[in-house]
């Protein structure tokens, strides 16, 4: 769906992005992970031409984005910002209706779609007439997501979408985000510096450093087949937790009563713990995990 081909971007003498290539399949959720200044946000913003690359090409649905009107292109790509970027002088309803208005949707169509999204995103209708600053941080971020999704764009770009939220709100929204079927159909590129978030939400992760991609692969690939010491070092601190969260029972080829084979070790532990005394099953789970780990 998205093909990024050897793009580079220089700001004066500084090379912010240096020959980055990757592809994102339709419906896939790709995470650009890295520390501040690694070039991940610059890479993201080149996809909707907020920043023009110094060299290299980007294709969306096999069409070079250079050949399209930037405004036209952007209207077909959802964009979610860290600080939500909601218009403070627009009500929630007006904020959500910006893109439909640009696309000349009918009022009825816009309203219908808006109500649909509100329900999915757990927003109350009474919020429609309020201004963004009257909402909580989590609600604002939901409105930001609704605004990006309203025109049902096939591609969604997200720049640290949960970065400004407190931990409790963040895990709650992340969970909702994962469960939202609206998002399962979308091709998503998300930028984050939060390793856990990357592993939780990403189908694939591209770890970046100094403008280059260090490793691109599934969460398990990064954990168990790190390309170099940088990757290993980057994940070191939270390695065990990440492993629990990324290894599925199906990966370990083990079956345990009361747990689905699609569950991760982490969620399996959670389920067992919450359903009475399952010491035996837990032991079985751990053994399988250590075996898998040492392979």
């Amino acid at each position: 769906m998205i093909k990024v081909d050897h793009i580079s971007k220089s700001f004066g003498k500084v090379k912010a992005v240096d020959g980055v290539s990757f592809e994102v399949a339709e419906g896939e959720n790709l995470i650009l992970l890295g520390t501040s200044g690694c070039g991940k946000t610059t890479t993201l913003k080149m996809i909707n031409r907020l920043i023009e690359p110094t060299s290299g090409e980007i294709y969306i649905a096999n069409k070079n984005i250079k050949g399209q009107q930037p405004e036209e292109l952007r209207r077909g790509i959802g964009y979610v910002l860290q600080n939500n970027g909601l218009f403070p002088h627009y009500t929630v309803a007006e904020n959500i209706a910006i893109v439909p208005q640009l696309l000349n949707w009918s009022k009825k169509q816009t309203e219908h779609r808006m109500h649909e999204l509100l329900e999915k995103l757990h927003l109350d209708k009474s919020h429609l007439k309020t201004y963004p600053k009257e909402l909580s941080g989590g609600q604002q971020q939901r409105v930001g997501l609704a605004r990006a999704l309203v025109a049902d764009p096939p591609v969604l770009l997200m720049d640290e979408p949960f970065g400004a939220l407190d931990n409790v709100t963040r895990s709650k929204i992340q969970a909702e985000f994962k469960a939202l079927d609206e998002l399962k159909r979308k091709t998503i590129v998300m930028v984050t510096h939060d390793v856990q978030e990357a592993f939780e939400l990403g189908d694939r992760i591209c770890l970046m450093d100094k403008g280059k991609i260090v490793q691109c692969g599934s969460p398990a690939d990064l954990l168990f087949k790190p390309a170099n010491s940088f990757v290993r070092y980057f994940l070191k601190e939270q390695k065990l937790l990440l492993e629990f969260k990324s290894v599925r029972l199906s990966d370990m080829e083990v079956k345990i009563d009361g747990v689905h084979s699609d569950d991760t070790v982490w969620s399996a532990m959670d389920k067992l713990k919450n359903s009475g005394n399952h010491t035996k099953e837990l032991e079985q789970l751990m053994t399988a995990f250590y075996q898998y780990q040492s392979e």
Partner: protein
């Protein structure tokens, strides 16, 4: 003096027509220029917010304009735009520009970067971003700039009366010239109220919620145009000629009031400062002006004095005023000072003033040339028999006279001379004489009568503008009250006078004020 006891309220009620007219003019001036300043400043502010490189230069120019003293700025405008509303509006516009440009720029560049990025990322065009995001969000800041500009304009618009553009300045500056507190307040209080009201109103608009702000912002241009039109509501009664009078002349019995009551003169009148009045008359923007009969510009601009055939202007004959004790100390002094008596008539004095004021010759040279031409000049003598101290007020004519007296004293006696010229106005130089800091200075009978002796209206009427009676009265009173003596008059009369261009006056066959009245009535 009755005027001073009259209450402010009475004055305002009496002058309510004028007050209303001036207030409307003031509002009009303020908002015409404000409207134009918004038309110019808003796009400029938007431009420099887009091209930040230009911002330094544009803001610097607007900043420099702001630092030019308002009177000077009005002065610069006269050669280009003449007098009246045009230069006043341009000057006010230039003052209003800086806050509007700067606040537009600050407002737009201050819009949250995330909001701007979101707007771009959603596919808004540049124009949509400007009109739907940047301008609405910058509006409170822009309105704050307009608010500042409005208050500045209400203040500066008082100066518009200097160049005949009307406004509340007519009362304020007229009142200052006439030392009439009621008149000053009648102009100053409404001006202050206007500033407060507009400031308050705009502050309310500025703090409105976004929804309401939008509709108010749309209504603002219409409101500005409506308020601007106030300037044109006051209609002046038309006449064939236009007169320009100083604020002081407007309010004096021996000025416009006398012209109206004694001559019944009805002429379309605008108020103007004497600094630009003569030139404006020369440039045919005015036809009749109130000037001083020996002013050098009379000759420079080829103007002619109309005969005051009903004697409303009191005589202002010049003569040296000397302390009695100085006359005793310097026995030869009286004779020497009287050498000039009757030697200089109006046209001669005008000629001499013309040479200093307009040709910029030194007063010393002008004085010496005159004495030589009239066989009065003698070379300097010893100068060791004590020092005579001469004073003068701070204008050309007085400098010339002081120089003449200095040369005469040195040439005809052994006295030394020290001159203290440039002693400001009447009050300063007279106090210096009264306190024995100078021995004499040239004074005018009218000034002695009205400014120093502060004669009652009855006394002034009794003297009925007669030059000898006036001279005798001040001479007697000065001797009695201050032990000072008026010596013989020099000959010229530097009084108020109505003037016209020579050519026009002879074409219309107007020689006196009565002729003028007859011409206007036909």
């Amino acid at each position: 003096m009755n005027e001073a006891q009259q209450s402010l309220f009475e004055f305002m009620r009496q002058q309510s027509d004028k007050l209303l007219m001036q207030t409307l003019q003031h509002i009009g001036l303020t908002f015409i220029s404000l409207f134009l300043a918004v038309l110019v400043g808003l796009p400029l502010g938007i431009l420099i917010a887009r091209r930040v490189k230009l911002s330094g230069a544009v803001l610097a120019v607007a900043g420099i304009l702001q630092t030019i003293p308002s009177i000077a700025l009005l002065g610069f405008m006269i050669p280009v735009l003449g007098i009246g509303i045009k230069p006043a509006i341009v000057a006010l516009l230039l003052y209003a520009l800086l806050p509007i440009i700067r606040n537009t720029y600050t407002g737009i560049t201050g819009v949250d970067a995330a909001v701007k990025e979101a707007a771009v990322a959603m596919g808004m065009s540049r124009k949509q971003i400007l009109t739907k995001v940047e301008l609405p969000l910058a509006m409170p800041v822009i309105l704050a700039g307009i608010r500042t500009a409005t208050v500045i304009n209400v203040g500066v618009a008082t100066l518009a009366s200097y160049i005949a553009a009307g406004g509340l300045g007519e009362f304020i500056f007229g009142g200052i010239s006439l030392n009439n507190t009621n008149m000053i307040l009648a102009g100053a209080i409404p001006a202050a109220l206007l500033a407060i009201i507009f400031d308050f109103g705009l502050s309310r608009v500025q703090h409105l919620k976004f929804k309401k702000l939008k509709s108010v912002t749309l209504a603002l241009p219409f409101l500005l145009i409506l308020l601007s039109s106030f300037y044109f509501i006051p209609s002046t009664y038309g006449s064939k000629l236009t007169a320009g009078f100083t604020p002081e002349f407007m309010g004096r019995q021996d000025g416009n009031l006398g012209l109206q009551s004694k001559y019944g003169l009805k002429i379309n009148t605008i108020v103007i400062s004497d600094a630009v009045m003569y030139k404006a008359c020369y440039e045919k923007q005015l036809d009749v002006i109130s000037g001083y009969s020996t002013d050098g510009r009379l000759k420079a601009y080829d103007l002619v004095v109309l005969d005051d055939d009903k004697h409303i202007f009191p005589p202002y004959y010049a003569a040296p005023v000397v302390r009695e004790d100085a006359l005793k100390k310097f026995p030869e002094l009286e004779k020497i000072l009287n050498l000039l008596a009757g030697e200089i008539n109006d046209s001669t004095m005008t000629e001499l003033n013309y040479r200093t004021d307009y040709l910029h010759e030194s007063p010393e040279k002008v004085a010496k040339d005159f004495l030589i031409a009239n066989n009065l000049w003698k070379s300097e003598r010893a100068g060791n028999a004590g020092t005579v101290r001469i004073g003068s007020k701070i204008f050309g004519e007085q400098y010339i006279l002081a120089n003449m007296y200095s040369m005469l004293i040195k040439g005809y006696s052994d006295y030394g001379v020290s001159t203290k010229t440039g002693l400001g106005g009447t009050k300063i130089v007279f106090d210096a004489l009264n306190n024995d800091q100078i021995d004499f200075y040239p004074e005018y009978t009218g000034t002695g009568l009205l400014a120093i002796l502060q004669a009652s209206p009855n006394t002034v009427n009794a003297l009925s503008g007669d030059k000898d009676k006036t001279y005798k009265y001040v001479k007697t009173e000065f001797k009695k009250r201050y032990q000072m003596r008026w010596l013989q008059p020099i000959g010229f009369n530097n009084a108020y006078a109505l003037m016209m261009r020579q050519k026009q006056a002879s074409a219309l066959r107007v020689k006196s004020i009565s002729n003028l009245k007859t011409y206007l009535n036909n």
